[in-house]
């Protein structure tokens, strides 16, 4: 295993020290592994808390700041945070207007956030609503299963809900908006290589030099199918077509098109992928009204990519364009 780390046990704790040192706009509670806006709580503003296993950086810590998250909870690598921690973060950012929990749909994440919300309910006076992202079309959806994984749409949702909260909208509205984003976004991912979990010390799965894993999530889970290595053009089709068909996205739809790197993939390749994705969208009459290209929700050092499309209207677009000031997304007046 080749990584810039010390003891595998200390990866999360030490990365948090680095985040704290690098970003004076963030406050880090090392005991609870919470990364929060330095000015939290903001009185009267709905607080946004997200979190999940570590290893997906910049998600979520890199999205803490004005116009996006108020706090992020970092779990162990690929392991959801714990209820105590989530509850502490929730209390930390509650400015009296309630708190929205943004949860990626994994059994562990859902249960731990649920327990935190139950604990908060026992104590009274803290209002929490929860939105769960479940956008990964590689997973078949069914009421009998754990459902789909939450992946790329989480980034877009945190930005859009963050903008709504920053505008001072009430909790129910922010939550409704967040659910609309969750409902209108779809993703699919592909791995060229496995990731290596530091504590495991070796790749989670073996993949031949001429194979790819199609339909992977962000935890090194095997995908739905192992397929032969293919050019970017074909990979783009393997990812975009099922995404388009699922919602479905239709001719005339506007989307935010998000081409994401899984951690070990350079930006050059992502731009090349974006060209292919954009070409396919144009062929379907779907307009990429905005784009996001980069490694924003990763799976440690995995080489690969995911494509997320979010259907937007003018309201969502204006929230997307609204100012944001976080380490990784930063734009606007």
């Amino acid at each position: 295993m080749k990584k810039l780390i010390n003891d595998p046990q200390d990866v999360v704790a030490e990365a948090l020290l680095g985040i704290e040192a690098a970003h004076p706009t963030l406050r880090v509670d090392h005991q609870h592994r919470i990364i929060a806006r330095v000015d939290a709580p903001r009185p009267g503003k709905v607080g946004l808390v997200s979190g999940g296993g570590s290893g997906h950086e910049p998600l979520h810590a890199g999205f803490v700041g004005p116009g996006m998250l108020d706090a992020a909870c970092a779990g162990e690598v690929f392991t959801s945070p714990v209820p105590d921690q989530i509850l502490t973060a929730t209390r930390l950012v509650d400015g009296g207007a309630g708190v929205l929990h943004i949860v990626k749909n994994y059994t562990g994440d859902v249960m731990n956030f649920e327990m935190a919300a139950e604990m908060a309910a026992l104590e009274g006076d803290l209002r929490i609503l929860t939105v769960v992202t479940a956008d990964d079309v590689a997973v078949q959806d069914s009421t009998w299963t754990a459902g789909r994984r939450g992946v790329g749409v989480t980034v877009l949702l945190e930005k859009i809900a963050g903008a709504a909260a920053e505008q001072g909208r009430p909790l129910e509205q922010v939550a409704d908006l967040a659910r609309r984003v969750a409902d209108n976004g779809r993703s699919m991912g592909l791995a060229l290589t496995s990731c290596t979990v530091p504590a495991a010390g070796k790749p989670t799965f073996e993949l031949g030099e001429d194979e790819m894993e199609l339909g992977v999530g962000i935890h090194g889970e095997p995908g739905r199918e192992r397929v032969p290595l293919a050019p970017a053009r074909e990979i783009a089709a393997m990812l975009v077509e099922p995404v388009l068909a699922d919602l479905p996205f239709r001719r005339g739809d506007k989307v935010i098109a998000f081409v994401n790197g899984l951690g070990g993939t350079p930006l050059l390749e992502l731009y090349l992928m974006y060209n292919e994705v954009n070409r396919i969208l144009a062929g379907h009459g779907v307009q990429a009204a905005r784009s996001l290209v980069g490694s924003y929700i990763t799976s440690l050092d995995m080489a690969g990519t995911s494509v997320t499309l979010l259907k937007v209207n003018d309201e969502l677009l204006s929230l997307w364009d609204a100012p944001v000031r976080t380490p990784l997304l930063n734009w606007g007046g």
Binding site: G53, G75, E76, V77, F78, T79, S80, P81, V82, P83, D84, Q85, Y106, T107, G108, M111, N112, E114, M115, D136, A138, V139, Q140, S142, W144, T145, A146, R149, V197, A199, A200, T204, F205, G217, H219, G220, E221, P222, R224
Partner: protein, 211 residues
């Protein structure tokens, strides 16, 4: 199961469970790598080490105090799916057993049933979904029957362990419908469930302690 057990016996059971988890850590992780995310061994080991340290320090003198401490510690140190699920199992065991210093076989079986119900309520899985329930549920049923029949304790635990192991083995051909393994769909078939494997260790620990 003829005789009852003390808080100290229950603590020895949990020590034995923690030891077994440590011994099987790599295997649990390997099973999870095949159909999940490869952290089940680390999760369970982290949780049980912390849990044992917490109960050793607190030296609880009732089953409720023992399992509440353990469950809370597991919930707040593990995360993932197994943290809330095993945590809930222990917390429910604690509530069900209460403060009685001597636990009868029937009480133990009933408490495990309550724990199992807690896991179902939390995880919304059913037997057959390829989860820890597939080992836990038959073990609890076996224990209930043995208690009702007045089987000797060591024989009853042996029966429960066998049921758990059969249940664990039966997860291999199953198609996962809950937890991370469900993402694999058909590809989850042919692999033993990690959570069912650690649940079977819970019964193995009762035999090893012996409870």
């Amino acid at each position: 199961m003829a005789d009852s057990v003390s808080t100290a016996d229950l603590a020895r059971w949990m020590h034995a469970f923690a030891e077994l988890v440590t011994e099987h850590k790599d295997n649990l992780t390997a099973l999870d790598a095949a159909i999940g995310d490869g952290d089940h061994g680390a999760n369970m080991d982290r949780g049980m080490r912390a849990g044992i340290a917490a109960i050793d320090e607190a030296a609880p003198d009732t089953p409720r105090a023992l399992f509440t401490k353990l469950g809370m510690t597991v919930v707040s140190t593990v995360g993932g799916a197994s943290g809330p699920l095993f945590g809930t199992l222990f917390l429910r065991l604690g509530s069900a057993l209460g403060d009685s210093t001597e636990v009868s076989p029937t009480e133990l079986a009933a408490a495990l049933r309550a724990g199992l119900d807690g896991v179902v309520a939390r995880g919304k899985a059913e037997p057959g979904d390829k989860t820890m329930l597939d080992a836990l549920a038959p073990a609890v049923t076996a224990l209930e029957s043995a208690a009702a029949a007045g089987t000797s304790r060591s024989e009853a635990l042996q029966l429960a362990l066998s049921a758990a192991e059969q249940g664990r083995d039966a997860t291999t051909p199953m198609l996962a419908r809950k937890g991370r393994a469900s993402y694999l769909g058909e590809r989850s078939v042919g692999h033993q469930d990690p959570g069912a494997t650690s649940a079977a260790l819970l019964l193995a620990a009762a035999v090893r302690a012996p409870l």
